[in-house]
Symmetry: C2
Subunit: 454 residues, 2 copies
Amino acid sequence: MRYMPDKPQPRIVIVGAGFGGLAAAQALADAPAEVVVVDRHNYHLFQPLLYQVATAGLSPADIAAPIRSVLAPQANTSVILARVAGVDAARNELVTTDGRRIEYDYLVLATGARHAYFGRDEWEQHAPGIKKIDDAIHLRRKILLAFERAENEPDPDERRALLTFAIVGGGPTGVEMAGAIAELARKALARDFRNIDPRETRVILIEAGPRLLPAFDPDLSEVARRSLEALGVEVRLGARVMDCSERGVSFGPGDAIESRCIVWGAGVRASQAAKWIGAETDNVGRAKVGPDLTVPGHPNVFVIGDTAHALDMDGKPLPGVAPVAKQQGRYVAQAIKARLRGASVPRFMYRNWGSLATIGRRSAVVQFGATPDRRRKLSGYLAWWLWGIAHIAFLIGFRNRVSVVTNWVWSYLTFARGTRLITGPDPDQPVEPARVGIVPGSVAPAERERAAAA
Amino acid sequence: MRYMPDKPQPRIVIVGAGFGGLAAAQALADAPAEVVVVDRHNYHLFQPLLYQVATAGLSPADIAAPIRSVLAPQANTSVILARVAGVDAARNELVTTDGRRIEYDYLVLATGARHAYFGRDEWEQHAPGIKKIDDAIHLRRKILLAFERAENEPDPDERRALLTFAIVGGGPTGVEMAGAIAELARKALARDFRNIDPRETRVILIEAGPRLLPAFDPDLSEVARRSLEALGVEVRLGARVMDCSERGVSFGPGDAIESRCIVWGAGVRASQAAKWIGAETDNVGRAKVGPDLTVPGHPNVFVIGDTAHALDMDGKPLPGVAPVAKQQGRYVAQAIKARLRGASVPRFMYRNWGSLATIGRRSAVVQFGATPDRRRKLSGYLAWWLWGIAHIAFLIGFRNRVSVVTNWVWSYLTFARGTRLITGPDPDQPVEPARVGIVPGSVAPAERERAAAA
């Protein structure tokens, strides 16, 4: 199975081993070319389950697979751990931050997106998003520490603010985070504290538009809203965030939510890939690409996934979701292989199989088919099973599947969360000082009595 | 089962939820007292398997359990996440770094130990140890990055230094780390790289004394040495480290090992607990305690585990191992309960059931019994099974057991490692710049050919 060339081979460089880049690399396993995958992380991340790492349901390693291991069987493929500084398109070279230059014959940019704050970058410190493993660990720490601080907090107002979680953005990330935090508080943590009752936690999901899950059918949006409310989540629709600070979320004068933990799921911004290649961008920084996913003026440079602005057959931009990225990755591999043998392929067409989102234990919404007229919809228990099976099926690596299923079955049976670790960047200062400073005397007598009576 | 007091109860404060502190807290579940457990982490850590986190075999959450969950069923017990600043013994108060004062009637200090460098603290940055989860994640990152850097390194000398791992200390930690790194390189990573062959990795275990595992019988030390050498580990006995730097380990003029990854398993130093209480200490900072584990002059303050210098019946100090800490924790609980009802207990006696250490796949050494005359010994495959069963049995929490067994079975069958994630404190700079600066041109032609031919 090992490819032995008798002449120098063309080289295909793929930047980013997310859904798009990895799909492209895997579809190039049989190409008569050298394939080089460059990523700044050593693992492929299964982003759709990242919210479960942030809410202490799964370990990071459960949803990540080393890129080298995944691609090891492909003899024509090598992996480089590096950050990209830019592209020298005139010389067909990729430049890394440590000064290396990697020549390419074809370049595939699949560098994804980060969360974005509509130009209010100062919100990020107060309202972190979840796109990477480090984001999820940071958020897990922040969520778990909120309960720990509340337990130690003598001021009832501050305690309420610590037990209020504001989630901004009613898309799948926001809906899943809201459901998961509500379940964490009401089930997994319910009996673990003495001075607070985690079941008094407020989880508020904030959406600027008129309904949750705008990519879904309106009646599924309504199902999602009702399911979340049954979990105890407060849903605020049509609420536009004016400010995020260490005090909470503000919607305007006199309308604010006091919260010490805001989660951002409202906007994304594409990576810098468009700048590297000098491509025209849309308003979220995605590179505008042609029907064959190449950058105009650079026929050997492809941009795919969340960092590409590609149009569907109706002229509407394709959404930044995993299935689009994977199909684009496979398309680009076919297109390059065709060109290597002097042929060509028709334009890229996205085949929309459907969408899934889960709301919590035993509840999810699923719709199949792209167009409203022949759409099938499903919600509730059966949809939840389908969601689980689909996510397990798409996870890479047998070990990850076993581990995720084990964790899910255990959580389902016990309501507990297995990965409730507060780990952090500074091993010697894991507990931040309490906001209120010195509390005179020892634990307040009222709290001692509550603790004894609890 | 909930205890309802009709008069104010005495309060027992336990600092540290390691093996000793947790055993004490659990044995106090039925005490007519309020129990408060203070720890700076929110989890109990199963330290004996920490080396498997450092070598990408297990996830942190597999070997940690939230202290609150473990103690939630005990109605008389509460948990406080805080760092201790000191003890105000005159007022019977524990003081935390955020300024709280927690009154106690009885105080149990079980704050463990850190690795130590015989007064050469500047070695720590080059030769990290493994005592905490953050240590293990840091070391995992360092080990995995060494292979990634070697893959990109054009200079053969530097490549050799990157693929040389020096482990200082021939106790259980050093032996287990050496075996695990050798297996990682020779099995899990063997096929994943294109420019290097991880099987060329050198793993050197350095011990100043005349044999490995000095706590074991000499013939088991010899078994351990031979087993490690069979795995490809070089064992250097009687080698005293003079310096650790970014270049490697030095033993004296002209005798040095070039290594970019040194692992420290040679010495420990007790926590600051003895200073808090003003106790006399031994040369590693442990508080000297009486036969009932109290600090002389402080009859209501107990020190246990790695931070206590307690003597056995022969007047020799007890070793800093988990069974000692657990037995001391249970003893202290019994002693306090006896005192609460006006009784007393005899002095602490350590019951030594035996020692275990694993060397790698299918190999371990086990000895039962304290005294050489009636000691039973075991090594090899059966000892390895015993080691595995004992560690699973002592792990806290059903989820952790299932997860660890799943990971072990998978690793055993496939030789792969599941948690090979390079995660780090700075999410935006996960790859440190290469040492050599700019490498002109693209990937060297010789390496391209090797990659194509591999």
